[in-house]
């Protein structure tokens, strides 16, 4: 991947085209539904940036997207596709909550690191299972992570309905499936009073820089990328491919687990239903849109955070279901993965022209 100025500019143009393409196709579905796409997109894009609420909410959403996205960058760069972030978020959240609620008297300086460590470990173990299955038994990681998502969700629901349910919910007889609040002295501080934006944002940004340093400036990171570029060549060069596959998935799961911790400590202050909120999938989109670069994932997370907030606003303002955002994200993925072809084949446009004008084109297409 060329890192020169021209190359970066070209990549940004391709990404913008991919987003615009996805939005145009999405507009077709809105038209089919007899909705006005201009009005709908107007709300979706202006809403998140029009006031303090919109901007801070965008950043609140960007935090878990960035953390999940960083894990995706690590795993995809190592040649292993993690779509288990949904489950890893839940594993991290419930691990963090369990530690926080069982040690409420510990001072924040001890409890907060412990809670982060617990979340990262739970997420990391959950991701590591898929890595181990891939490395030792060549189990396709996409399938195993999908299954692990479903399993994590059921365990999570079982825990917040039963063993970890808020004792108040039991004594009041309301029975809402959620855990007790974590002790208030470890709630992440608010960056702007009166909003939900919390110090998890700074944590996520620091981690993005760390991941960049790890992947590009350390020998472990170099080996992981070598495994991703070509496992056979990496093996030939003496790299323990299996070990790095497990490590990559454990780190990816750990990042997603931290996203769960931050949602608990920064936003909800407990574990409850719907905590992962699709961040496991949106984080993949953000990472792909950031060209699988830790620093590129930062603006991409803000963009998709804004789109998530905008989609909610669109649902309220013009009554278009927020499911629309999943359609757009799916299309963005399809467009972005297709666009690699255009980046690698600059003559593709010329070939299409040649075909359209009936000349014998060089390449596939048959007789």
């Amino acid at each position: 991947m060329s890192s020169n100025y021209n190359g970066v500019f070209k990549q940004i143009m391709v990404l913008i085209s991919a987003l615009v393409g996805a939005l145009l196709v999405g507009a077709l579905f809105l038209l089919l539904a007899k909705s006005d796409p201009v009005k709908a997109y107007g709300v979706m894009f202006s809403g998140p940036f029009s006031d303090k609420f919109g901007i801070t909410e965008t950043l609140v959403r960007a935090v878990p997207l960035l953390l999940v996205g960083l894990g995706i960058v690590i795993s995809f760069r190592s040649g292993i596709i993690n779509i288990g972030a949904e489950g890893q978020i839940l594993a991290g959240a419930i691990g963090a909550t369990a530690v926080a609620t069982s040690l409420p008297d510990l001072p924040a300086v001890m409890l907060l690191p412990l809670v982060f460590l617990a979340g990262a470990t739970c997420g990391g173990l959950w991701g590591g299972i898929a890595g181990w299955l891939k490395a030792r038994l060549s189990v396709n990681e996409i399938l195993s992570t999908v299954m692990l998502n479903q399993i994590a969700l059921q365990i999570y629901l079982f825990l917040i309905r039963g063993p970890l349910i808020d004792p108040k919910e039991v004594s009041y007889g309301t029975g809402v499936p959620q855990t007790a609040l974590i002790p208030e002295h470890i709630w992440l501080s608010k960056l702007i009073p009166g909003t939900r934006i919390h110090s998890g944002l700074i944590f996520a940004l620091l981690l993005a820089v760390l991941v960049y340093v790890f992947l590009w400036k350390t020998s472990s990171g170099y080996r992981m990328r070598a495994v991703g570029a070509g496992p056979e060549a990496a093996r030939y060069a003496g790299i323990r491919v299996e070990w790095y596959l497990v490590l990559a998935m454990a780190l990816a799961g750990g990042m997603a687990g931290l996203a769960g911790v931050v949602e608990v400590a920064g936003v909800h202050h407990r574990s409850l239903e719907g905590l992962s909120a699709g961040y496991g999938f949106s984080g993949i989109v953000a990472a792909l849109f950031g060209r699988l670069h830790p620093l590129g994932t930062i603006p991409a997370s803000v963009l998709f955070g804004a789109l998530l907030v905008g989609a909610d606003m669109m649902q309220r303002a013009v009554n278009i279901p927020a499911a629309m955002i999943m359609v757009i994200q799916g299309l963005v993925v399809l467009f972005v993965v297709s666009s690699d072809y255009f980046l690698q084949n600059p003559d593709f446009g010329a070939r299409i022209k040649a075909k359209l004008f009936g000349e014998k084109a060089d390449g596939e297409g048959g007789k």
């Binding site: 299955l133 060549s138 996409i142 299954m147 399993i151 279901p321 994200q329 993925v333 399809l334 596939e364």
Partner: protein
């Protein structure tokens, strides 16, 4: 105990198991052709969701499940075509494009359901067709010969897929394209065309699997009605070692276990609910783990075809 496990209950478990195998069979046989031609389609779940919604909505509007099936097949072909353009023509990384297709189908089916239907609405689905004479045989009759048309279709597709794959020239081309695309290309077989055909066929069968869930089983549509079955179907292709009979075996093992498990629930035998829900996913991981050893996989699986530069 013999009161609980009477012959009637065994018949119900077996008959339900046969019925529950249908979506796995349809989706997995489609994916088998796709992977035999050298492509992964990991978007099966998304196509199933679209097929489930399209079949449901067309049946609701047009009043006949047969039109529902036809429309869902068309939608499935379209979804397969999208995957083909992205994965074959644009040579995208197939794992990631599959996730894109999954998210697209998931979002779109949810969006259309909320826009056009909104709440729980039931439809007149497919009715069981009792095969004359055969359905009167004790035990075997109710287990095998009193199902709706899609169930019979799915099971007939097993030998039919075998015939197509091993005894027709098209099947030979599919296998050649999946194993040695360069050689097939040299012999004048269009790799691109075969892969397009397989992805479209796979898309149609995945959508049909989805339509079975709404038209042939639940008689309604609900969010996430597919519940990961599309991904499980892909796992069954591995477990069945890319052969129709292997897929049949895997689908039946899976659906019979599922049927047995739900009967345990119905009979109120003490078995934790969460564990029962987790079981199929756990079994899938185990099935993948014991399918260890990839010698059976098509050699060019997952590799976009790039014709060598000519001199």
């Amino acid at each position: 105990m013999d009161g609980v496990m009477s012959a009637d209950i065994i018949v119900i478990i077996l008959a339900t198991g046969i019925r529950l195998a249908t979506p796995f069979l349809l989706a997995a046989l489609g994916e088998m052709f796709v992977q035999r031609s050298g492509v992964y389609n990991l978007g099966v779940e998304g196509i199933m969701m679209m097929g489930a919604f399209a079949g449901f909505y067309a049946t609701l509007q047009l009043g006949t499940p047969l039109l529902g099936i036809a429309i869902s097949l068309a939608i499935g072909a379209l979804m397969g075509l999208i995957m083909a353009v992205v994965s074959v023509t644009f040579k995208a990384e197939q794992g990631i494009s599959g996730i894109g297709l999954y998210m697209f189908g998931w979002g779109l089916s949810g969006l259309l359901f909320r826009l056009y239907v909104g709440g729980v609405t039931s439809i007149d689905g497919l009715k069981p067709i009792a095969i004359p004479l055969l359905s009167n045989i004790p035990i075997i009759g109710p287990v095998l010969f009193n199902h709706n048309g899609l169930v019979y279709t799915a099971f007939l597709l097993v030998p039919l897929s075998g015939l197509i794959l091993y005894k027709t020239s098209w099947g030979l081309n599919v296998r050649a394209v999946g194993n040695k695309p360069e050689a097939a290309d040299t012999l004048g077989v269009s790799v691109v065309r075969i892969r397009y055909e397989c992805l479209i066929l796979g898309g149609m069968l995945a959508a049909l699997a989805g339509a079975f869930l709404t038209i042939g089983q639940a008689n309604m549509y609900a969010d996430n009605i597919t519940a990961g079955r599309g991904f499980i179907a892909i796992a069954l292709v591995y477990f069945g070692r890319w052969s129709p009979w292997g897929i049949l075996l895997g689908s039946l093992l899976f659906s019979m276990a599922d049927s047995f498990q739900s009967m345990v629930q119905v009979l109120g035998i003490n078995f934790p609910y969460e564990l029962a829900v987790i079981l199929p996913y756990l079994v899938t991981i185990i099935a993948l783990a014991i399918s260890y050893g990839r010698v059976w996989a098509p050699a060019a699986l997952g590799k976009p075809f790039q014709r060598g530069t000519r001199g």
